[in-house]
């Protein structure tokens, strides 16, 4: 807009400058970790190995960024710092949607579908169910303990529903399902990598554009409405975005219960602010450092491949407990 002077530089407080430096440092470290992942220990057919590592890196970064961004948004709209989409059972919901699709289409039908179609079907199903479940809770922010309990119950419910539907599927189809729902960091689904990259990039861009709105939403419903936000519309849009990101990440590597929680808590501690202009990039950077770094260490021979997700999840679980027991949540 012409004639509108941006005053950020002129009045930026010393805190702002420090926060900006922290975010830049995090991003620099994340880039360095990615470089280590790509180039350290290259042997044999360099071009081939590099290509392989690049696609692996693309997958890891996607998963890391989407866990960070979806957790930040979810915490802000629920007004609650110890929740994450996975704790609320959203990834279990995704696996359930997948199971339902396999059941509805049959193993062959499912396996024959192009990945883009499968994926869109699952995402659409998941968005619909998560909006139906969570919107009533978010219209008025519910009590935190109620939300956590609901999350655990929903997670359990979806898992057992998945198991039930899986029993109804004949053994061949069940194998298809197992192949689909127990992806790991080792065998990233190539077909989904490109779609996932696009979805994650668009979703992250949308979150970034909404960073000021997220700051206002963090003030609570009444304050946000008083400042002119259409609360229901924004919460619906942001919840759909979270569902989309979680679906993408779960489709790619499977459920990751505590990664998002871990990295957002770390980023917030390091940054000292919940301003979304800082927190979103910081959390994404920390997520890349943790996930890519752990994978690089694993390849350099510190522990086997399984260890990565187990360690990340274990530390994340400890952070969750620490947040739960400390008084300063919420």
């Amino acid at each position: 807009m012409p004639g509108r002077v941006m005053a950020e530089a002129a009045t930026a407080s010393p805190h702002r400058a420090a926060e900006r430096r922290t975010v830049l440092a995090i991003c620099a470290i994340a880039t360095a970790v990615c470089a280590v992942f790509l180039f350290v220990g290259l042997r044999g057919n360099v071009a081939f190995v590099l290509g392989l590592r690049l696609s692996q890196l693309l997958g890891l970064v996607q998963v890391a960024v989407s866990a960070a961004v979806s957790t930040v948004i979810f915490q802000t709209i629920t007004g609650n710092r110890i929740l994450s989409p996975s704790i609320m059972g959203l990834d279990a919901l995704y696996l359930f949607c997948q199971t339902v699709l396999v059941f509805a289409l049959g193993g062959f039908g499912y396996a024959a579908l192009p990945p883009a179609w499968k994926f869109s079907g699952e995402v659409a199903l998941m968005m619909a169910i998560s909006l139906a479940l969570f919107l009533p809770m978010l219209r008025r922010r519910s009590d935190m303990m109620l939300m956590i309990l609901t999350g655990f119950v929903l997670g359990l419910m979806f898992r057992s529903l998945s198991a039930l539907v899986a029993r109804l599927i004949d053994p061949n189809e069940f194998a298809v399902l197992q192949g689909a729902s127990f992806a790991t960091f080792q065998s990233l689904d190539e077909g989904l990598l490109a779609i996932g990259a696009v979805v994650t990039a668009l979703g992250t861009a949308a979150a970034w554009r909404a960073r000021h709105v997220l700051d206002v939403i963090a003030l609570g419903r009444d304050a946000a409405v008083g400042l002119g936000l259409d609360w229901n519309r924004w919460v619906t849009a942001l919840l759909s975005l979270v569902a989309c990101l979680v679906a993408t990440s779960t489709a790619l590597v499977g459920p990751l219960a505590f990664l998002g929680l871990l990295v957002v808590a770390l980023a917030e501690r390091v940054c000292g602010t919940r301003g979304h202009g800082f927190l979103l990039p910081a959390a994404a950077g920390v997520a890349v450092i943790v996930l890519v770094g752990a994978q690089a260490l694993a390849r350099l021979g510190f522990g086997g491949a399984v260890v990565v997700s187990v360690v990340v999840e274990f530390v994340g679980g400890l952070v969750f407990l620490a947040l739960l027991f400390s008084r300063r949540h919420g």
Binding site: T11, A223, G228
Partner: protein, 252 residues
């Protein structure tokens, strides 16, 4: 001007407000009084569209609360809720800066920054500008929230019990500031008060509710009689005159 026409509201089956119709003229300070549970906060929340209208209509400065887009409404009327918590970890200056959101959507311009500084100054917060709001005392935080509402720059301000947590110095200071802002900028200010003497000293009008019904809507002097006060609060209190001002001996 605030026009309230036949507004009723209920939570489930419990009626909270019954057929309220009143007009508050533009410019000046109006005190909204009444016993606990009379429906003052509910009426204010309806005016600021924090609750959906169930029956009747409300217009502020000619704009229908139900039909006007949120962003336009947020530039027309600012509200301070009763006991607003600060949910996120924010510095006072950032918090006050949120008042400019309806105007610049979070990207503060030089003009916005100037208005934020002015609001900090006006509510004696300059020294606290870089403190985290959750480390302030209740009264300091209350002042920060009021500064944020003021910073919204609206012609109409609705303040729900702004004197909560304020000591005598800042309570008097706030009422004088509101008076001054109303006079110099011709703002329409509706303020929920419990101490009727603050209303006596600073308000042009008094609107009184009891059990969800309008008891009186009149200029201050005509409300401050033992009979009317008894009709509002349910007990008899003397009204004296000290230094030309009516003083209600409500505590005796």
């Amino acid at each position: 001007m605030i026009e309230i026409e036949g507004v009723s509201f209920s939570h489930g089956r419990a009626p909270i407000l019954s057929d309220i119709s009143l007009t508050i003229p533009a410019g000046g300070v109006t005190a909204l009084v009444g016993p606990n549970g009379a429906g003052k906060s509910t009426l204010l929340a309806l005016m600021a569209r924090l609750l959906p209208l169930q029956a009747g209509s409300i217009a502020i400065a000619g704009r229908s609360v139900a039909a006007t887009p949120g962003r336009e409404m947020a530039r027309t009327v600012a509200i301070l809720r009763q006991d607003p918590g600060v949910s996120s970890r924010l510095r006072v200056r950032e918090l006050v800066g949120f008042g400019r959101f309806p105007h610049s959507r979070g990207r503060l311009t030089a003009e916005d920054e100037r208005l934020v500084d002015e609001a900090l100054e006006r509510f004696d917060l300059t020294g606290l500008a870089h403190r985290f709001a959750d480390t302030l005392s209740g009264g300091q935080r209350q002042r920060a929230m009021i500064a944020m509402a003021y910073c919204q720059g609206c012609q109409t301000m609705l303040l729900d019990e702004p004197l909560n947590n304020l000591d005598m110095f800042y309570a008097r200071d706030l009422m004088r500031t509101l008076r001054m802002v109303a006079d110099s900028q011709n703002k329409t200010i509706v303020v929920v008060l419990h101490d009727i003497n603050h209303a006596a000293a600073h308000a042009d009008r008094i609107v009184a509710l009891r059990d969800g019904r309008l008891v009186v809507n009149d200029v201050t002097a005509r409300v401050l009689t033992p009979e009317t006060l008894q009709a509002i609060f349910g007990y008899r209190m003397e009204v004296a005159t000290v230094g030309g001002l009516p003083v209600v001996l409500h505590h005796r």
